[in-house]
Amino acid sequence: MMQLPRWADIVLVPLISLLMAGIIAAFVLLAIGESPAEALTTMVNGALGSPYAWGYTLYYATSFIFTGLAVTVAFHAGLFNIGGEGQAQLGGLGVALICLALPWPHWTVALLAATLGAALFGAAWAAIPAYLQAKLGSHIVITTIMFNYIAASFIIYMLVDVLRPAGQMDPATARFGPGTALPTLNEIPLLNLIFAKPVPGNVTLFLALLAAWAVWEMLWRTKLGYEIRAFGKSEKAARYAGISPLRVTMIAMMMSGALAGMMSVNNVMGESGRLVQNSSEGAGFIGIAVALMGRNHPIGVILAAVLFGALYQGGAELGLWTSIPLELRIVVQGLVILFTGALDQMVRMMLAPLFARRRLAV
């Protein structure tokens, strides 16, 4: 294993990985006869070029912070949670049930309750694969993937047969009451000086930042966090130290599921104001890329989430203004996961000579 300076490991490796993902994506674009330069300018302008664009980028970033943190917490326990997508959709169901249950008097109360509901539903959906892994040794990667498909079917059933108001054609819940409308960034004092036009980014952004701080505090400042990280580094050593694998697996996965579920506060409550099919739109999967890119640290996750928020908003603009399908962003997402998660050794090998030479020179 090559040793790179710490800063290179934290900053340079992800950036080079991103660069290589970008270069390959450019080749893909050239291969299908599109202009990478046009794609890049459209994406950058559409995602970062104006406060209005930032309002969208931050909206996506809010969701990705939650799902990125979800993958991060599980990763630290040595668990690969690919079920963020299903957990997020179940979280959306939790949000919808809470929002529809009462005529909420004020958004602050509704926000608290909905967050709790989202976290509970997400955690419950993650608890089953966690239990199966800890008790019966079913591979958590495969069970969480299966739970994504099951969640999708379950949500369709709930929307079509249970929650759909009489007389409505499309499979969705009724609209939430006015007391549940979260202030968007352009409605918040001071911020409204920056965001003039209505944007989807909303107050959930601050909830996401709070969650990032809480995850950091939990992982590195509490006994539980220590247990989770010890278990993730070496299950044998952790077991020998008296840490219960069942307890750590359950708690880490349920926190992971809760975080993934909480992203639904952003899109279901903050944006659409009702629960629709496939509400999370792949954000659960993007959490994997965000966690890897962010080096499994909450600060890294926030930065990577903004980056992917820009990628998503930029990709949507591509779909609007060019003939490039917006699936380009899934390609970039896959490449980033490949380079930061599976080929990081290769990136390190490429960087190693640079640092070796410098050391010789000194």
Partner: protein
């Protein structure tokens, strides 16, 4: 349930089991050699797209098949480089390739055909057509077995028979050849194989390549045999179901056949709400859709008993220095 309905169900079962069987055997070679392969799904998807696209453009399903296998091999190659050469995380590499496949297939198909990320419907020589086995009609009069032979066994496409043939071949390769012995050894104890002077890297790459070819067949069957067109995300989690079948089959070829037939039967059942109605059970459509996935979880949770995976699975091999 009448005999006719049952035969129709079994016929669909065999059709649905075929891609699962190919993918399951692909995973078997790879995992027996110590390389986890979550990327079966992605390899099937690119193969399905490449096969249908080339078949549509050239008018020949065989060119399509080759293109499918080629595309799948490229992805297998990336997985090999990431997990063998650079000793990366095999699970993450597989997940990455699945996303890559999901995006690239739409981009390319959209560029080629401008039909919402799919290909036009294939017909004639551009798709695999049913093969009537000899005596299918003559033997129809034999009670039970006759109609079974005529309806289920006969009248499938070429790749179905290849898939069924791949089971004994895999058994023979794995348990009766020197290569198979080494392949199994490298998944259990690569250091021993290395000490014996056999290249761990070459063995593992060969296993990943075989997995690539088999996933290519699985994908090509999806888009040129099972249905005659590529549609976005058409593999719909079959790669993962094949993985579950592999665990259910305890990484053994004959068990893989039974496991994939069972899962194929569940998928066939999910398409037939009328069977449930006839039995007097009312089940929402969404529950039927989820059935294969739920059963996969149940299978993973318990019925498997103690399934022991290859011991060195998922661990990159570092030569002692």
């Amino acid at each position: 349930m009448s005999l006719d309905t049952l035969l129709q169900l079994l016929d669909t079962t065999l059709r649905f089991a075929t891609p699962l069987l190919f993918a399951c055997l692909a995973g078997l070679y790879s995992e027996r050699a110590g390389i986890f392969d979550i990327g079966l799904e992605g390899k099937m998807l690119v193969a399905a797209m490449a096969a249908a696209s080339v078949a549509a453009l050239s008018g020949s399903v065989y060119f399509g098949l080759l293109a499918g296998i080629g595309a799948s091999l490229v992805f297998a190659g990336i997985h090999g480089v990431a997990s063998i050469t650079f000793r990366g995380n095999q699970l993450i590499s597989g997940v990455a390739l699945n996303f890559l496949a999901s995006g690239v297939t739409v981009l390319v198909a959209q560029k080629l055909f401008r039909q919402g990320g799919g290909t036009p419907a294939l017909s004639g020589d551009a798709r695999f057509n049913a093969i009537e086995l000899p005596f299918a009609e003559a033997l129809r009069g034999v009670p039970v077995l006759g109609p079974f032979y005529a309806e289920v066994i006969s009248g499938q496409t070429l790749l179905v028979y290849i898939a069924l043939l791949a089971v004994p071949v895999t058994w023979w390769v794995l348990y009766r050849t020197r290569y198979g012995l080494r392949l199994r050894a490298v998944g259990e104890n690569p250091a021993a194989v290395d000490t014996a002077g056999v290249s761990v890297v070459a063995l593992r790459f060969s296993a990943v390549a075989i997995a690539g070819v088999l996933c290519g067949l699985a994908g090509a069957y999806m888009s040129t045999g099972l249905v005659a067109a590529f549609g976005r995300e058409m593999t719909a989690g079959r790669g993962y179901i094949a993985l579950a079948a592999l665990i259910f089959a305890k990484w053994r070829p004959w068990y893989a056949l039974w496991a994939t037939l069972l899962f194929g039967f569940f998928q066939a059942l999910a398409l037939r709400p009328d069977v449930f109605k006839a039995l007097g059970v009312s089940i929402p459509v969404a529950a039927l859709d989820a059935l294969p996935y739920v059963l996969t979880v149940i299978v993973l949770a318990g019925i498997v008993g103690k399934a022991t995976p290859p011991r060195a699975g998922g661990e990159p091999y570092v030569k002692e220095r």
